[in-house]
Each structure stands twice: as structure tokens, then as C-alpha cells.
């Protein structure tokens, strides 16, 4: 099966019912995408399908009909996406395991809602679990990223 991941076309030989999460991690070697629960309860596996943030653990390979963007495609050390810049500036991460998913969810939110309120942030981000409790910094970083992106 043919996939476009982070702008690159990839050929994958796997079952159609294999979750995209495991295709990305174990076949394509994109380890920024994380396994946390496997049942769409934690959001650690969040990627974009087109412009939509989805749980890759619940997205079957045969249903992937749009380009996939993972955290590796959003930005990288030295060339950070504005959301990642805000995450670094606000020192959000503790263990960091959930942060790929948090960042992908937050970037999708800001693409649709450039200046979200706290309530909109809560609504968009409540599917992303953080056991370390980085929520206060996540809120602050999203507001900062929104301001930075508005300023261009």
C-alpha cells in the first residue's frame, strides 16, 4: 500500500487492519509517534490525516486516504514549528512521552482556531492525557504559540 508520510511517498506491505500507529513506528521507524493505550484514551499517538488530528492507534492502514503528518514532519531540532517553539520556551515537557501527541493536537487546534480561549483549549485537548501533569504549561504554551503565529 502507498502512503504519503511527512511529504514522502512510502510503500508499505502490511495487513489492511494494521493500525497506522504500528505502521509508523515498527515499519517506517517514526518513533516520535507514541503507543500509550491502543484504544484512543490517551492521545499519545496523535498524528494528522490531512489537516485533521487523529488517533493513529484507531486509524487502520486501509483507511489512510490522505497524507499523514507526524511530529517529525511538523518541525525538528533547529527548525521548530511555532508550537514547538512555545513548548520549549514554556518548558512544558516533564517525561515528554505524551508531548508529541499534545503538540500535534495543539497545532491542529491553532490551524482551525488561531486564538483559542481556555475553554476551546480544554475542549480540543481533553483527549490528550498527561500523567506528569503538564497541563498548566500546555495552556500557557498554546496561548503563546497563538500570539506568535498571529504576529507572524
Amino acid at each position: 500500500m502507498r502512503l504519503v508520510v511527512n511529504g514522502i511517498a512510502r510503500q508499505v506491505e502490511a495487513e489492511g487492519d494494521m493500525p497506522l500507529l504500528w505502521v509508523l513506528r515498527d515499519i517506517l521507524g517514526l518513533h516520535g509517534v507514541k503507543y500509550g493505550c491502543g484504544i484512543a484514551q490517551c492521545g499519545a499517538c496523535t498524528v494528522w490525516l490531512g489537516a485533521q488530528a487523529v488517533r493513529s492507534c484507531q486509524t487502520l492502514l486501509r483507511d489512510v486516504d490522505q497524507p499523514v503528518t507526524t511530529i517529525e514532519g511538523l518541525g525538528r531540532p533547529g527548525a521548530l514549528h511555532p508550537v514547538q517553539q512555545a513548548w520549549v520556551a514554556h518548558k512544558v515537557a516533564q517525561c515528554g512521552y505524551c508531548q508529541s501527541g499534545q503538540i500535534m493536537q495543539a497545532a491542529a487546534l491553532l490551524a482551525q482556531t488561531p486564538e483559542p480561549t481556555d475553554a476551546q483549549i480544554d475542549d480540543a485537548m481533553q483527549g490528550n492525557l498527561c500523567r506528569c501533569g503538564t497541563y498548566p504549561r500546555i495552556r500557557a504554551a498554546i496561548h503563546a504559540a497563538a500570539a506568535a503565529m498571529k504576529a507572524g
Binding site: E15, I39, L80, Q84, K91, Q94
Partner: protein, 748 residues
């Protein structure tokens, strides 16, 4: 002190008999510094100045030999060393380094001693010293107990100062100048004319200079890094998906495994039919392992799928089958035969409570089992090559884990090397090495092939070593606006005995964890008695963030709030009157000021206060809740703590926020229950945790009042649940005496 010395001696005797091979013990190790493990594999162009510093042409590497699990200890330890060595923070690299008994944790045993953290008597200080000796004997390289900073505060600074002294001498040799005229800054020696000699350019001279044993340390007023808001190491990697956790390990020709063990914890396997799984697509091997079976496949998902195809008949559990029977066992443990400790017994409690006309207030409290459930499920990668086993895994006890892996693989311990990787949370879970032994067992059956073993979330949650369930029975009397008598009895299984048992070590004497956070509080009450009762082990239990204090903070402060309510006393003013410790008083005053204590709240709101001193850190928390149409909403929280010294203010604030959230989130809705011998909760849908939409606005203040430095990974957990319960009581009139609170109230 005699008791602690006895613990040290016995632990040493048994430990040395148990842990063979690579962990050789001897008296010499206590009197001489251990060898520098960094000399192994050092390049010809590199130098190691002591077990904490490597110089290479590419830069300076600092060894921070504690687990990176999100608590930020590695970065803070590196700050301590960098302060004294005058390293450039931006360019230095921090690694965990090789497991070694040189990196023993001398502060890890302090919390287990029968002395309150506020006890500075000769006897208490002697016991803490004895704990250091025991840790050194045992080669106890352990991350936990909020001990990384207290253990490393002097060690890391001395290592940095010694390394700096070597480099000054190296520069003096190079230039012919006297060391006294040289300065250091930004990872370089500065000559009187301003010329910079980079540390890494001094490697040839530095290699042959012995570091001083007892270098002087900077006075506090000269610190330029400690206490500064620096960018914590690892932040950029953790914001770009480029941090490599254990679960991300990749090796050439690697295969992917998963393990399923008997959900009746600790029990064996009666019958196993692996034929269907063995025939599944992509499966390389299905094999029995201790207490279960492993499936090895060409990717993790196929291993998970095939593991479901194995037909298995599990042996039954050896403990009570369900939570009701387990709580019955706890309730039946308040007996003389099971009395474990009475570390606090002041005044005449019996007389105070049986005096004619005394109105005795009684209450019973409960706390459930809880899982650690770090977001990264347990995993380990193991590779057996030419009789030597290499392991990559997240781990809090690397030397013990390496021994366990050696036993599981059937090879000598000196043939195992373990690389400790960053962890997606741990909260105490990786103080256990069960998953590392499993990976070793599987790898030993596939010589030459690297095996990455990953648990499913369901396997992780149903095979945790939980925080024990517990109960408390309180009796008290109030009068004249204060608490006149308090008698608190706590019953719980012993985490220490359960953990030591798995290490093959006996546990001696009472387990302070059963009463921690209750017996050792700096409160003066005329008649005060705290008694611990030990419940039989039942399901295996372990240390869970803040350990005994995580339940006892709730029991003790919850009941005190009830008594103060009955006495008609203000929760803050009454505590300020009872408090006996100066730093504790300061945090109470701070939280009062931060929260504008006493100012009116909006209608429908309730405010609760709680205070717990644990791991040497007094913490006061105020929580505000609002009763809304959707349920209770936690609106604001205020946290004040005294650390003595705040090494890393950014991480300190994160831990204060995270500790509070951890305490609130579990108290609200989390519990582990048993049915038919197995844990019922299998994933985050049935084991909920606080979401961002439930997260209050949090205000923190870290004080530097006390004269000893402390860690902050755990102490902010215990007061959260009782502060929330007190707030809910004030908002609703409902007194919550059982966690999780969602059994009795609804949260928005």
C-alpha cells in the same frame, strides 16, 4: 542508632550473599573510593576526571547517574556539578552513565528510618549516617524517594570542584603560570591576559593529574547557575519527538516481542496451547516464560495479535479473590497480633478519650490499590551475543535489574551490561525489574537476535505492583477550640516487605511506610497516638509516588479537618497554633497569603487546606472547588513548599504542579479493584486520570527556609487529596472518607 546499624549489617550480609558476580562487596569499598567506571571504553583522546565527568574533543559530558523519568533530576544534578566546574550550560551534555556501585544513593534510606524528618537529634543524624553506609555497602544505585537532590547536592558539587581543580593545574602546566592567577568560566580556563583555554583542549595534561579529595566549594552567594531558570536538558528532544525512550529502541535485525503473564499475580501456568499463535502471520516464536508466555514476531502489533491466540489455563491466585475480601482482611488487621509500630505516643490518649463526659469523634477512612501506569508501557530490549547479554531499558534500580536479568538468562552477572534509557514516566513502577528479567529470558532463547519486548497497556495495568490499599480508624476529642486528643490507627500491607521479599532480602522491624505522613508530622497535640498495623501481603505491592504518605496524608489531614470543624476552629489558624517546626510554619503562612485566606469566596465555592510533611519537605495546599450544574469543578489550587535550596526553579515548579495534579487526579476517580483474583481495570477508560479540562489554575511558591536541601518529586502529592476533600465538604457538606471521591460525588 543501634537498630539502624543492625539493619546495615544484616542487609550487607544478606545482600552480599545474594548479589554475586559484578556486584562484589567488601569492607574496602567503604573505606576507599570505588574505581571510576568511565575508564572502561574511554577513547585515547578523552579524559575522565572522576566518575562524573568525561572530557572529549567534542565537549564535556556530565554523568547524572539517576533515572530520567520526567522528574528532572538529571538536569538538576548536572546544574550542581556545572556550577562548581564553571561549565557552559548550553553546550554540556548529560547522560545517565553506566550502572555502578560508585553511584550509590546514600539518601534513599532516610525516609525508612524511624526518625521524623524534623528530628535533628544526635540519634537521628547517626541513623541517617548509618543509612549512607548501608547504601554504600549495598551498591544501592537507586532513583526514588525524592532523594536524588539530597544525595547529590554535595557529591555533584564536589565532583565539579575537583574537576575544576584538575583543569586549573592542567592549564598551569601548559602555560607555566601559577594556578592561583587563573580563573574559570564557560567551560574554559581564563588566563590573566584574557586568553581562553577550553577545558577540552587541556585533555592531554588533565589525564595525568589526580583530583583533590576535598576541594573547597563556592559560597552560596557566588552561585551563578544554581537557582537560575535555565533550559532544562532534554526539553527540545521532548518537544520534537526525538527523545529516545526504551520503547523506541532499534537494533539491526531486531525482532518484536510481547509477554502475557498470569493475571492472578505471582501464580503460574497450568496448561498452554501455543499452536494457533505460532502459526499466525509474522510470528517467529511462541515460548513459555516464568508465569506466562512470550510471542516474538516481526512487529509489535502482530505480537499483540498473536498473543491473543494462545490458549492458557492460569493457576489461581493465592490471595483473596476480590476487593471486598481484601478490605475485610485490612479491616480485620487492627489487632495486637498485627501491630507493627507505635512511633508516636504522647500524653495519655486512653484517659483523654475515656474521660467522663468526653465526646469522642470517630471516623473510618479507606484508600484503594492504585496502579503507577506511566504512559510508556513496560518494555526492555535484550540481546544475547557470545554469552554476553546487553539490555536497554528504563530502570530505577540498574544493578539489581542486571542481576535479575542474569538469573533469568542463566548467565553470570558480570556478563550483563544494562543501558538505562529515558522513561515515559515511572512514578515508582521501575523500582521493579520484572519486565527486564522477561526480556532477558526471551533473548536467552534467541541467541544472536536482539529482542524488543513491549507490554500492551492491558498487560501493564493488570500486572502492576500497586500502591497498597489501606484503612484508618481515627478517634479524637476537641474542646476549647482545639484538638485535645487524637488516636489514629492505620492498617496496610507493607510495601517495604513486599519489595524486599522480591529482592530476596528480609525486612526487619516495623515498616515506617505504613504510618509515614501521619506519625512524623510536626504538630503538637496534647494526647497523640499513631499506630501502624501490618496487613498480610495479598497482591504484591510497591512504592507509588510518595509511598505511605500518599494515603496517610489523606487519613491524617482528613480526620484533622473533621476535628477542627467540630472544634469550630479555622483550619489555617488552628494549624499555625499546633505547628512545632519553623519551615512548616512558613509554608502555612505562605499558602495563607497566596490564597488570601479568610477572604470571602463566591457562592457555591468551597475551600480546603491540608498540610503534610514528607521526604523532609513541608507542603501546604489550598484547593478551591465550585459546585456547578455539571458537577464539582476544581477551580484554583495554591501550593507552598520548603526545599531548603531550590536548585532548579523551573523543574521545581513543574513538580509542584505535577505532584498536586497527581494527588488530585487519583483521589478524584482512580482505583484498582480485584475480581476473581485479577485486576479489573485494563486501560485508561476504566482507570481515569485528571484531564486538562479538569485542571485548576495553580499557584506555587517554593521557599528556602530550612537548613537542609530536599527533593520535590513526591512531597506535593500527599496534601492534595485531603485539601480537595476539605474543599468539597465546605462546598457540599459531604465528608469524604474514601478514595476515589467519584464513588460519592460527581466531578465536572
Amino acid at each position: 542508632m543501634a537498630r539502624s546499624a543492625k539493619i546495615a549489617r544484616r542487609s550487607f550480609l544478606i545482600g552480599s550473599a545474594l548479589v554475586a558476580g559484578g556486584l562484589a562487596f567488601g569492607y574496602w569499598r567503604f573505606v576507599t573510593p570505588g574505581p571510576n567506571p568511565l575508564r572502561v571504553g574511554l577513547g585515547p583522546d578523552q579524559a575522565t576526571l572522576n566518575p562524573y565527568v568525561i572530557l572529549a574533543p567534542g565537549g564535556v559530558t556530565v554523568i547524572a547517574p539517576r533515572a530520567a523519568m520526567g522528574q528532572g533530576a538529571q538536569s538538576a544534578l548536572a546544574m550542581l556539578l556545572a556550577e562548581e566546574m564553571d561549565l557552559d550550560w548550553e553546550t554540556l551534555r548529560v547522560i545517565h552513565g553506566p550502572p555502578s556501585d560508585v553511584y550509590y544513593n546514600g539518601a534513599a534510606t532516610a525516609e525508612a528510618l524511624p526518625f521524623a524528618p524534623t528530628d535533628h537529634s544526635l540519634l537521628a543524624r547517626g541513623a541517617r549516617e548509618a543509612g549512607q553506609v548501608a547504601a554504600k555497602f549495598l551498591g544501592l544505585q537507586l532513583t526514588g524517594g525524592s532523594s536524588s537532590i539530597p544525595d547529590g547536592f554535595d557529591k555533584m558539587r564536589r565532583a565539579g570542584a575537583a574537576a575544576r581543580a584538575v583543569l586549573l593545574q592542567a592549564a598551569a602546566r601548559r602555560t607555566g603560570l601559577q594556578p592561583e592567577v587563573l580563573k574559570t568560566a564557560g567551560s574554559a580556563v581564563i588566563l590573566p591576559d584574557g586568553t581562553r583555554l577550553r577545558y577540552v583542549d587541556l585533555i592531554p595534561e588533565a589525564r595525568s593529574i589526580a583530583p583533590p579529595q576535598d576541594p573547597p566549594l563556592k559560597p552560596r552567594e557566588a552561585w551563578r547557575l544554581i537557582g537560575r531558570r535555565v533550559l532544562r536538558k532534554g526539553i527540545e528532544a521532548r518537544s520534537t519527538g526525538t527523545e529516545r525512550y526504551g520503547i523506541d529502541m532499534v537494533l539491526p535485525g531486531m525482532v518484536f516481542a510481547t509477554v502475557r503473564r498470569n493475571p492472578h499475580l505471582g501464580a503460574g501456568v497450568r496448561r498452554l496451547d501455543m499452536s494457533k499463535a505460532a502459526a499466525a502471520r509474522g510470528v517467529h516464536k511462541v515460548m513459555p516464560v516464568r508465569g506466562g508466555y512470550a510471542v516474538v514476531a516481526d512487529n509489535t502489533w502482530r505480537a499483540f495479535q498473536a498473543a491473543d491466540l494462545v490458549q492458557v489455563d492460569w493457576a489461581p491466585a493465592t490471595y483473596p479473590a476480590d476487593s471486598a475480601a481484601m478490605f475485610a482482611e485490612v479491616a480485620g488487621s487492627f489487632t495486637e497480633a498485627r501491630r507493627d509500630s507505635r512511633l508516636k505516643d504522647e500524653g495519655d490518649v486512653e484517659a483523654a478519650l475515656s474521660a467522663p463526659g468526653a465526646e469522642v469523634i470517630e471516623a473510618e477512612y479507606r484508600a484503594p490499590y492504585l496502579a503507577h501506569a506511566p504512559l510508556e508501557p513496560m518494555n526492555a530490549t535484550a540481546w544475547l551475543r557470545d554469552g554476553a547479554l546487553t539490555i536497554w531499558a528504563g530502570c530505577q534500580v540498574p544493578l539489581y535489574a542486571a542481576s535479575a536479568a542474569a538469573r533469568a538468562a542463566g548467565i553470570p552477572a558480570d556478563r550483563v551490561s544494562l543501558h538505562v534509557l529515558p522513561m515515559g514516566g515511572s512514578f515508582g513502577r521501575r523500582l521493579e525489574d520484572d519486565f527486564i528479567a522477561q526480556a532477558a529470558e526471551v533473548a536467552a532463547a534467541m541467541p544472536g537476535v536482539p529482542v524488543k519486548m513491549t507490554w500492551s497497556r492491558e498487560e501493564d495495568m493488570t500486572h502492576d505492583f500497586c500502591r497498597p490499599l489501606a484503612m484508618a480508624r481515627g478517634r479524637g476529642r476537641v474542646g476549647r477550640g482545639r484538638i485535645e486528643a487524637l488516636d489514629l490507627a492505620i492498617a496496610a500491607p507493607s510495601t517495604t516487605a513486599s519489595q524486599m521479599g522480591r529482592l530476596g532480602l528480609p525486612s526487619m522491624g516495623p515498616d515506617t511506610a505504613i504510618v509515614a505522613g501521619a506519625w512524623d508530622q510536626p504538630l503538637a497535640i496534647e494526647a497523640l497516638r499513631i499506630t501502624g498495623y501490618r496487613v498480610p501481603e495479598m497482591a504484591p505491592v510497591s512504592s507509588w509516588r510518595s509511598v505511605g504518605a500518599s494515603v496517610n496524608g489523606f487519613f491524617h489531614e482528613g480526620f484533622i479537618d473533621e476535628l477542627l470543624q467540630a472544634a469550630g476552629a479555622d483550619p489555617l489558624q488552628a494549624r499555625l497554633r499546633m505547628i512545632t517546626d519553623a519551615p512548616s510554619r512558613k509554608v502555612l503562612e505562605a499558602v495563607g497569603e497566596m490564597s488570601s485566606w479568610g477572604a470571602p469566596l463566591p457562592a457555591g465555592w468551597g475551600r480546603g487546606l491540608a498540610f503534610t510533611l514528607s521526604f523532609g519537605v513541608p507542603v501546604a495546599e489550598v484547593v478551591d472547588v465550585e459546585q456547578t450544574d455539571q458537577g464539582l469543578s476544581i477551580r484554583r489550587a495554591f501550593v507552598a513548599a520548603d526545599l531548603g535550596v531550590v536548585v532548579d526553579p523551573v523543574t521545581t515548579q513543574s513538580q509542584m504542579q505535577g505532584g498536586l495534579i497527581w494527588g488530585l487526579g487519583h483521589a478524584m476517580g482512580a482505583e484498582i479493584t480485584f475480581a476473581r483474583g485479577a485486576i479489573e481495570q485494563r486501560n485508561f477508560d476504566s482507570y481515569p486520570f485528571l484531564r486538562i479540562s479538569q485542571c485548576p489554575e495553580i499557584h506555587t511558591r517554593a521557599l528556602e527556609v530550612g537548613d537542609r536541601v530536599h527533593g520535590i518529586g513526591e512531597p506535593c502529592v500527599p496534601p492534595a487529596a485531603p485539601a480537595l476533600a476539605a474543599a468539597i465538604f465546605r462546598a457540599t457538606g459531604k465528608r469524604l472518607r474514601e478514595m476515589p471521591f467519584s464513588r460519592q460525588v460527581d466531578f465536572a
